[in-house]
Assembly symmetry: C2
Homo-oligomer: 464 residues x 2
């Protein structure tokens, strides 16, 4: 039996080494059906290993059906354990398609909070407390709509801070806002349905709705958000999708008159309104704006997220559904991922209940306001009259309109090559060509040093 | 102005009280467009509050468009801020549809690990460490395929313990195995495709595949899992779905001959195999069985989960994809929920890396084996010759076949009324009627006291 070897310098246990060699030889046909293996005693002596080692290797092969033992006759290779080889390409190395930018790049990506200011100590301590102190039923399967502790504090918080009217039973905790969008699409879109949507609007949202068969009916936005008067009658859309607190990306806030027009339209055509409220906690001009949902809770589906006020890494968002949609919403959530991870939900519930969230928002709002003011100052310093700024009253980004610049793919990759990443509004348009000189500048995760360097470099490259 | 009141005993701040009353009166038409509000000074005096309070309430209403200020002329109710009321039904209370059973019920639900033995202290300490010590980039958006730290330790672990061959780049971390199933459905099923599947098989899995348009082609199982020879030729299924390590629910382990037959079939019709490996870490008879995936990694999609070896509350599972499917798999994951929560992924990576997982499995296997042995003993004590036990070599459940019993809905609810919850195999069949006297008994989360009490009661009620 020179065809079996053991190597004591290898990490793999001896049993595994013997098992693997025999298994391979049976699979590839070197040892064919009916071949009689040496006795365990004999093989153990040849390989200078303990007999138990060989016994265990044989046992595993017997259990898996590679071998069969005939009483008193020994151990044989079983029938049907030969597998023809095919060309293998598992050694083919895949490129990470979503590869990380290295740290030298100044990235004006929108919607990223200040990652270095996440309240990591408080969060970590609460996470530990939840894991150690909660009743052990926490570790079982949970309800698709999410933990009642979180839904209760959240509905209080939303009423207090956002004028959202909801009973905890109307809330479905989701694995981030993206999942909330997917659930809405599943809930409301049938093939060939129309969805009325702001234009421009987050590209990913367009993709999600289209992937469920919707035809998008774009309505243009101005500095006050969606121009409601442009919505055509004579159709019944699956829903109307709006970002009324802070239009993405242009940044307008929908005034009460348009809100009422929108609700009246939705009532007339008997359609739902989907309100995506992604960053309105950070409002710098005047007091915070109440939700659209509060005006007609039976017709409005509200999407919220903790990605901007805490961290996108948590993947915690939520849906508020009109009572008639709750049951189906929960079922769809169940078949998506059963429920969102429970320990994080409970950690967040404590974080809100103990007042940390509101303190954190209060603190971050001051920091983001400073960053926003500084970014505006830098833009005016560099670009003077040739820049107009839009949508800076709220949130973690603003839009800069630059006279005579066209953000072509060429220009964008030139900027990228020089270490500046900016995001054109045209990336998010449905009807193209109206925003070719508009750029989205996120400032949440950039300190003043990076903002200053970024804007200066940006201008220098544009001038080249 | 007797129509505005403030109540200092209320929790709501005075600003909010004034704001809300004015807003309501404007929305419902009590105060109509053009109405001139009292000056802030005047209203402050009437209500006996500070002028700033009134100023802030007015400011908010101005910002939201309910009011407009005309220079030197005062503050007026704006046009278009009146919203007609509709019948409201938000006060309608929803019943929790997935209500919890109370604690007095003995629940033989399968697939629930011992919740009181979750390693909560280690997990809590690691979660805290991850939150406090990791680089702050952790708190940003992450890659859809999951953290490389987790994918690396997981691919080592899977090769070592399960004979799974995968490069970390082939892994996609999912929000539980249910999401993995959904992603596979999206990846491989087109409307009217056929899916070859074991019968019986988890009911939820059937629902998921059907909801993506698949027609299920059931193949019966015996004590060795799917009877591969029964698969018809002449069709090209989207994939063949199997639970080869521990068929759910019947419990067979697919022998090597059938595995090879299955792979040869899949090669001939050029189809994928989906291997769901949900609890094979707990193998009580003989050594653990290698994965099917290891035999043909280019043709097999492997689904794994941490729900049984750790806790379902974590919602951590994974997919191993052949290289050609990786790119699309990541994209579909991205549009489902961007990625699975990062902090938990990193906590799990540490948990595996520091050896806690394998220690935990080792410890739990001994406990589950004792529970299984005890359950079998109790069943034989109570039912004697009239019970046959199936599929008890692995995992957290076994199947009991009871002579002359039919688990009708009536009988099941009678059992439930007496505090015993059992799950009939018929719940999971596609072709009905072959398993009416088979019952699934999960034992992972039941201690010996509960098992003894449960089996005794079970028999007593059957005899009634």
């Amino acid at each position: 039996m020179t065809w079996l070897t053991v190597d004591r310098s290898q990490k793999a246990p001896l049993i595994r080494q013997i098992y693997k060699q025999l298994r391979t030889k049976i699979l590839n046909g070197e040892l064919s059906a009916g071949y009689r293996l040496p006795s365990t005693r004999q093989l153990a002596e040849e390989l200078e290993v303990s007999r138990n080692v060989v016994l265990e290797a044989y046992d595993q092969l017997l259990a898996e059906g590679f071998l069969e033992g005939r009483l008193g006759a020994g151990t044989f290779v079983a029938e049907g354990a030969y597998l023809k080889k095919t060309e293998s390409n598992t050694s083919y190395m895949l490129e990470g398609s979503f590869s990380k930018d290295n740290n030298t790049i100044i990235d004006f990506r929108s919607g990223i909070p200040a990652l270095d200011l996440f309240p990591r100590k408080q969060w970590g301590q609460l996470a530990k407390r939840v894991s150690i102190e909660t009743d052990h039923s926490l570790f079982g399967y949970d309800s698709p709509e999410g933990r009642i502790e979180l839904r209760t504090v959240l509905s209080d918080y939303l009423l207090r801070t956002r004028g959202v009217e909801c009973h905890p039973e109307q809330l479905v905790i989701t694995t981030g806002a993206t999942q909330a969008l997917t659930l809405i699409a599943k809930l409301l879109i049938s093939a060939n349905d129309k969805v009325i949507i702001e234009d421009p609007i987050t590209h990913e949202i367009q993709t999600i709705f289209q992937s469920y068969g919707a035809t998008l009916l774009p309505i243009r936005v101005d500095k006050n958000g969606m121009v409601i008067s442009q919505i055509p009658y004579g159709i019944k859309p699956a829903f109307i999708f709006v970002t009324p607190s802070h239009q993405f990306p242009i940044g307008g806030t929908l005034p009460i008159q348009r809100r009422i027009q929108l609700i009246e339209y939705a009532r007339k055509v008997d359609s739902y309104i989907v309100e995506d409220d992604y960053d309105s906690e950070f409002r710098y001009e005047g007091p915070s704006i109440s939700s659209l949902q509060g005006l007609d809770p039976n017709r409005t589906i509200y999407i919220g997220t903790f990605s901007k006020i805490l961290s996108p890494a948590l993947r915690l968002g939520y849906l508020i559904l009109p009572p008639e949609l709750v049951e189906r919403g929960r079922t769809l959530k169940y078949f998506s991922d059963l429920h969102t991870p429970s320990l994080e939900q409970l950690t967040l519930a404590l974080f809100i209940k103990e007042g940390h969230l509101e303190k954190h928002i209060f603190r971050m709002k001051k920091i983001y306001r400073k960053r926003r003011d500084f970014l505006k100052e830098q833009l005016f310093n560099e670009f003077g009259d040739t820049v107009k700024i839009h949508g800076d009253s709220t949130g973690l980004h603003l839009v800069a309109e630059l006279d005579g610049v066209h953000f072509t793919d060429n220009l964008l990759s030139k900027l990228h090559d020089h270490g500046i990443k900016v995001y054109p509004v045209e990336l998010h348009t449905i009807n193209e060509g109206f925003y070719s000189n508009y750029i989205i500048l996120g400032f949440g995760n950039l300190d003043e040093v990076k903002i200053a360097e970024g804007v200066t470099k940006f201008n220098r490259i544009l001038l080249k």
